[in-house]
Amino acid sequence: MSTVPADLKFMKSHEWVRADGGNRYTVGISDHAQAALGDLVYVELPSEGDEVSQGAGCAVVESVKAASDVYAPLSGKVVAVNAALADAPETINAEPYGKGWMFVIEAADPAQLDGLLAADAYAATLDG
């Protein structure tokens, strides 16, 4: 089964967040999420400069099977997006925690991170 990287924080809705330092946070979807969606065929990303708020939809991943909103795990400004996903959405299937990252948020309130799930707590939500 999939392992959940210990250095990431998660939302119950399967987004992950990695602290990159300097108040920047990279966001993607979990291995569990990509497997549940199946082969991804489109990714709709926010634009650089967009303001996003925690818990609000800011991206869409679409597989052969279903379209699914991706929620912002933190409020703040989008400062980078993974434009390579437009031509290769399957990268998320192959490397959800690596090259399949989706966007980077400059957090307005880094304390929001404390409300997210630690890796083991997220892994526990996937059992049963």
Partner: protein, 382 residues
């Protein structure tokens, strides 16, 4: 609790993601449904379709019974070993199910109906059969494996003895033949545990992918051995996910999504399966004739979207003739864009837009099938 086919453990051993389908625990994919789709379009893929319901109809009056039961004409079946696609209608002309009828012998026809509709189909067929003295026997002890793709027939035939191989390769489209289990047990490439392979194998040149290939009905006890022999012959497993994109590219309807009891075959794009032959009083005929006389109120159209995104079941479809909805919609791996079937009011549809999560997107109306034997059909890729 879902039912399992005899191949369930193999699917799991191959890493399948399993889903409930019509009450059955079935493989959705074995990793990538897009890879499995391409495997079938380019080479050969293997599907477990044992959840489908095989029913044998026996009696002197089977043919007259089927003349009444289904809207297509079984009189098109002139030689044993031929198959026919047909809809089974209620008196109102609605589709109870779609099925394949195989003509085995004058007193023995075989039908294969959908798994999800089994519980309503069997009582209906039994009630209809009674006046004709036809016996209705479900065959749950039979498994069904589909081998589909441009190389499927050759790879399957490589498992058989020379005579049996010639027999199955000699089948025309919609032809079927029964070969003895010994034909595969004794062949060099066949099933190694020869003594344990009982057979027989019922082999039909039919399918649900738009590719050439066979559907093979085999005793449950032999299904695992056959599956593994086909894998050794270089046929890879493909799941229901790929089956759905393949059949929609091929313009084939899915019961429950593209038609049901509230829809007539004339509205479902299935008029070609209705035979109004002289004097044949099939169920629903008078309703269909009334619908034709009054004007069929709805039509099924094929759609292609050139923009990014995926057309999906239930999305509203805006046309010049009124609003309808997407029936089956998916991403087409062969075309690299989304395709769909939609039901809309009759008439000239004009420019068509689909409402995708609140956004109107222009789509093109095209003739379907969208893809046939690996090739995009004319007009599908503008």
């Amino acid at each position: 609790m879902s039912k399992s086919t005899v191949l369930n453990a193999i699917h799991r051993a191959r890493g399948a993601r399993m889903v409930d389908f019509g009450g059955w625990d079935m493989p959705l994919n074995y990793g990538s449904q897009i890879d499995e789709h391409h495997l079938v379009r380019r080479d050969a893929g293997l599907f477990d379709v044992s959840h489908m319901t095989v029913v044998d109809l026996r009696g002197e009056q089977v043919r007259p019974f089927l003349r009444k039961l289904v809207a297509n004409s079984v009189d098109k079946l002139k030689a044993p070993g031929k198959a026919l696609y047909a809809c089974m209608l209620n008196e109102a002309g609605g589709v109870i199910d779609d099925l394949i009828v195989y003509f085995m012998a004058e007193s023995w026809f075989r039908v294969v109906v959908n798994a999800a509709t089994r519980d309503k189909d069997l009582p209906w067929i039994e009630a209809q059969a009674k006046p004709f003295g036809v016996t209705v026997q479900e065959r749950p002890e039979l498994s069904m494996i589909a081998v589909q793709g441009p190389n499927a027939r050759a790879k399957f035939a490589s498992l058989l003895t020379a005579d049996a191989s010639a027999a199955v390769l000699g089948l025309s489209r919609f032809g079927a033949v029964e070969v003895a289990g010994a034909a595969i047990a004794g062949a060099p490439g066949g099933v190694s545990a020869a003594a344990s392979f009982g057979g027989p194998l019922f082999v039909a040149r039919t399918g649900y992918t738009g590719e050439d290939g066979f559907e093979v009905i085999v005793p449950e006890a032999d299904a695992v051995a056959l599956w593994e022999a086909l894998e050794r012959a270089g046929v890879g497993p493909a799941g229901l996910g790929a089956r759905d994109t393949l059949r929609l590219e091929a313009g084939m309807a899915l019961y429950g999504q593209d038609m049901d009891e509230t829809v007539s075959p004339l509205e479902a794009g299935l008029a070609w399966t209705v035979a109004f032959d002289e004097g044949r009083d099939f169920n629903g005929r008078s309703a269909l004739e009334a619908q034709k006389a009054a004007g069929v109120p709805r039509q099924t159209i094929g759609l292609v979207m050139d923009e990014k995104g995926v057309l999906r079941h239930g999305q509203p479809v805006h046309t010049a003739s009124g609003v309808g909805e997407i029936l089956s919609g998916t991403f087409s791996p062969s075309l690299g864009r989304s395709i769909a079937l939609a039901r809309v009011p009759a008439g000239d549809v004009g420019a068509v837009e689909v409402d995708i999560r609140g956004k109107r997107v222009r789509v093109r109306v095209v003739n379907y099938p969208f893809v046939r034997e690996g090739k995009a059909q004319p007009g599908v890729l503008a």
